[in-house]
């Protein structure tokens, strides 16, 4: 079953086209990755899907609903972790979870969710006192609080140390195992390769390749006598039209 269907998505700022005719579909239960360098148009794309920005052209549907349509119904189906979004400094972890769970008709048990992201001990801690990794995990928990059927996660491991990143990856797999479809934005090759079932490689606002990580790598073959990895595949696919 198709969960997200994006068709010819185009977004301009002034006369700059930052997302240019992007089309892809995400199937139920997938971890679908959007991989690209900074400025490739990844955030713009997922924020259009989340209904936070209005596309200049193209159509997007989520579970068959047009994203310009019923605001509330759409937001009950989609949980979003934004790339840059904080909470009020003095808001406590448990208060945030309770408050956000009250926004949904059928929320998850917020204590269970806090336990799942390993923040049970921080329940009374104000947001400002959390570490970077803890803030990210709270952000994931808030994205899942409404029992969404799709989770959109934008660069959620940026700024985390290696151990925290691996724990976050484990968490994302658990989310998928609960039956949630995941749309994951990243610029990390290892993250994309380990986690994603399929990847859309973005470059300059367009999709330059869309396949499983293994197939993307296999297409490159060997590089300088070594088996290629995803980074080799990525470099081979992107950067056309640039100087180097």
């Amino acid at each position: 079953m198709t969960v997200i269907e994006v068709n010819g998505l185009t977004k301009r700022y002034g006369d700059r086209t930052v997302v240019d005719g992007v089309s892809f579909t995400v199937a139920e239960g997938e971890i679908f990755g959007i991989l690209g360098e900074n400025g490739a148009g990844k955030t713009t794309t997922v924020e259009c899907i989340s209904g936070l920005r209005t596309p200049d052209a193209g159509t997007i549907s989520v579970f068959g609903l047009d994203t310009r349509g019923d605001r509330e119904q759409l937001r009950r189906l989609i949980g979003v972790q934004l790339q840059e979004s904080q909470l009020q400094d003095r808001l406590r972890v448990g208060e945030a979870m309770q408050l956000y769970s009250s926004f949904y008709p059928d929320p998850a048990d917020w204590r269970e969710l806090l336990a799942a992201v390993g923040l049970t001990e921080q329940v009374r801690m104000p947001y400002a006192k959390l570490s970077g990794g803890q803030k990210q995990r709270l952000s994931i928990a808030l994205a899942l609080i409404g029992n969404p059927r799709v989770a959109i996660l934008d660069e959620l491991t940026t700024g985390l140390d290696p151990r925290a990143r691996r724990e976050t990856w484990k968490l994302i797999r658990q989310i998928r195992d609960r039956g949630v479809t995941v749309l994951l934005v990243t610029h990390f090759m290892d993250e994309a390769e380990r986690l994603c079932d399929r990847l859309a490689v973005f470059d300059g606002g367009r999709i330059v390749a869309l396949d499983t990580p293994a197939a993307l790598i296999a297409n490159v073959g060997d590089v300088d006598g070594y088996r290629a990895n995803l980074e080799d595949a990525f470099l081979a696919l992107t950067g056309t039209g640039r100087d180097n």
């Binding site: 936070l52 937001r75 934004l82 840059e84 979004s85 009020q88 808001l91 208060e95 408050l99 009250s102």
Partner: protein, 247 residues
């Protein structure tokens, strides 16, 4: 309970946890009146120059205007622009609740804090200086609410047109200090020069202050002052709604 009441409850808790907002809204008017009244003995002595009134009594309605200006131009403005800059509004936009609900909650909390701070100040003035309090309560309430609405509109407008929290704070203080002057903080009652008063009539806090002073002394505010505050509230409010960026 609706999302608005839940958010207002949460924002009220946060407000009380923030020492600065807590002080300026709830304690500042009282502290100012008590300190002034005690520091300058002549302030609390009946004076023939003021028709046998205590000068402090002339100052009390001006302090109400000062409180409105301080809360709106400092706490409210900085919270609004920070909520946008830090992505709090945007995160809310990903939920079924609209981010404007959070702004509504903030307004409710600030108005409640203003009313509480004003009540506290009047009670303190009654206890410490034997102030009789306002002589026309309904008129005072109208003037207070209209003045607050005008200054809330100005705060929303500044938050809407400035690019970030720093710029909001900068513009806020550029507006704040002249506004205090026109409200008569340095020249209460009839002490404001005639030329300044003519300008003050057309500033939101100046008009509010005049209306508050008229009501305090038993009269009704001049239609001009009610019209000016109402016009600021409506025009800046509409502009803010049209211009506000949520991210």
């Amino acid at each position: 309970m609706s999302a608005l009441t839940r958010l207002a409850g949460s924002e009220a808790r946060l407000f009380l946890r923030e020492p600065m907002s807590f002080f300026f809204a709830l304690a500042f008017p009282t502290v100012l009146v008590v300190v002034l009244g005690n520091a300058i003995p002549a302030f609390s002595e009946p004076s023939p120059d003021f028709g046998g009134e205590r000068p402090i009594n002339l100052y009390l309605p001006v302090v109400l205007a000062l409180a409105v200006g301080t809360v709106t131009m400092t706490s409210l403005l900085s919270v609004l622009s920070q909520y946008r800059e830090r992505g709090v509004l945007k995160r809310l936009a990903t939920t079924p609740v609209k981010p404007s609900t959070l702004i509504g909650a903030q307004l409710a909390v600030n108005i409640a804090a203003l009313v509480a701070g004003a009540a506290l100040m009047m009670a303190a003035a009654a206890v410490v200086f034997g102030s009789r309090g306002p002589e026309n309560w309904p008129a005072l309430l109208v003037a207070f609410l209209l003045g607050s609405a005008a200054m809330i509109g100005v705060a929303l407008f500044i938050a809407a047109v400035t690019p970030n929290a720093r710029a909001s704070a900068g513009v806020g203080s550029l507006v704040y200090f002249p506004m205090l002057f026109f409200a008569g903080v340095w020249t209460p009652g009839d002490m404001m020069p005639e030329g300044a008063r003519r300008v003050a009539d057309f500033t939101p806090l100046g008009a509010a202050s005049q209306a508050l002073q008229d009501a305090w002394h038993g009269g009704w505010p001049q239609p001009l002052h009610l019209a000016v505050t109402a016009a600021y509230a409506v025009v800046t409010g509409i502009l803010a709604i049209r211009l506000f960026r949520w991210q």
